[in-house]
Amino acid sequence: MDYSDTLLVPWYLAWCSIAILILHFCYEFIRPKYSTTQAREDGQNGLDAQRSGDGRFQNCVAAHGGVRIFAFKVARSVCCTLLLGLSVATLLIGRSAVYPGDRPDALNHYREPNQVLMNLIPNVSRWVEENKRDFMQSTVCVTFVSVVDFSAPVIANACAVIRELALYALPSRQLLA
């Protein structure tokens, strides 16, 4: 198994990103509590965001910086979810496909396994050796899972907005009926 394949780069990037975020979160957790002035600023900003709209719809949108920014964020979240679906579909459909990067003896590659890895985690490493392409495609899926996780708050807020709009629309429909 060649771990220097370029298709693994997003996977490495995702792990680096997660590691940096965990370190940053730990730093935020252990650093001294922020000052009263800063707390007042944050509280004021929160109040401004609450005052900027009448309902939860406006609050959700205002918390993201406005309608245009929120629309861009929702579009990005939808695209990230689509990417996850496309990568999973490629993984499932392309299991029997042969790619240009595959060596002619790719199917027999498991006969020369990496003994160190095999001893450590025998089942997983054997599967990786036997299904190199599936493994690399699954790393792309994992990358997009982390991407969708990053944009999950926007998806949650978009769902809240849709719910609010549905609640607004429902009474009028009932009145019409």
Binding site: G65, I69, F72, V98
Partner: protein, 178 residues
């Protein structure tokens, strides 16, 4: 946990540091851009050559997989290039106690618009249609360029006692004295 923290308001002032939530879009954009670059190197660059095939397009010419590949690359282009460059920026006041009522276009325009200065297009077209622009029709001054904020930013640095306290200056004094 990260999702919950990312719900905080983006109107946080610059002086209050950089919380984890403000790092999430940067991580997301870097991750997506890295993935797009990888797909460009693997699948788009070979199309510019005569003999190299795209590495992720199957040799069996399976149409569904080919469609999936180019759809993935198209969406990656949108989400990694178009959206980060075209998304307007949230207004972050320099001084949270004195924010602008109407933020300057320079501060809220998209990065692409900032690069090509297209946020000034409305004023240019207005000047093209009129013989004279009044003072009210000019774009407002960004609060990052206001004298009050510039003074608050520059004066502590230009103060001689600040320079004396910097380690680089002390290092230079010690080297010169020795």
């Amino acid at each position: 946990m990260l999702c919950l923290r990312a719900n905080s308001s983006p109107e946080r002032s610059k002086s209050s540091g950089s919380p984890t939530s403000s790092w999430l879009p940067i991580h997301l954009n870097c991750l997506l851009l890295g993935t797009f670059v990888v797909y460009c190197i693997r699948d788009l660059y070979p199309l510019c050559t005569y003999q190299l095939p795209p590495l992720d397009a199957p040799t069996s010419r399976d149409p569904i997989l080919v469609y999936l590949l180019w759809t993935t690359i198209s969406i990656l282009f949108v989400v990694a290039i178009v959206i980060p460059l075209g998304m307007p920026r949230a207004y972050i006041p320099i001084n949270p106690d004195d924010p602008s009522e109407v933020p300057a276009p320079e501060q809220v325009c998209s990065i692409f618009s900032f690069f090509i200065w297209s946020f000034l297009d409305p004023m240019v077209f207005l000047a093209y249609r009129n013989s004279h622009l009044t003072r009210d029709q000019l774009p407002i001054l960004a609060d990052s360029n206001k004298a009050v904020n510039l003074r608050a930013k520059i004066f502590p640095v230009s103060d001689i006692t600040y320079l004396l306290r910097t380690p680089i200056f002390m290092f230079y004094v010690r080297r010169t004295a020795s």
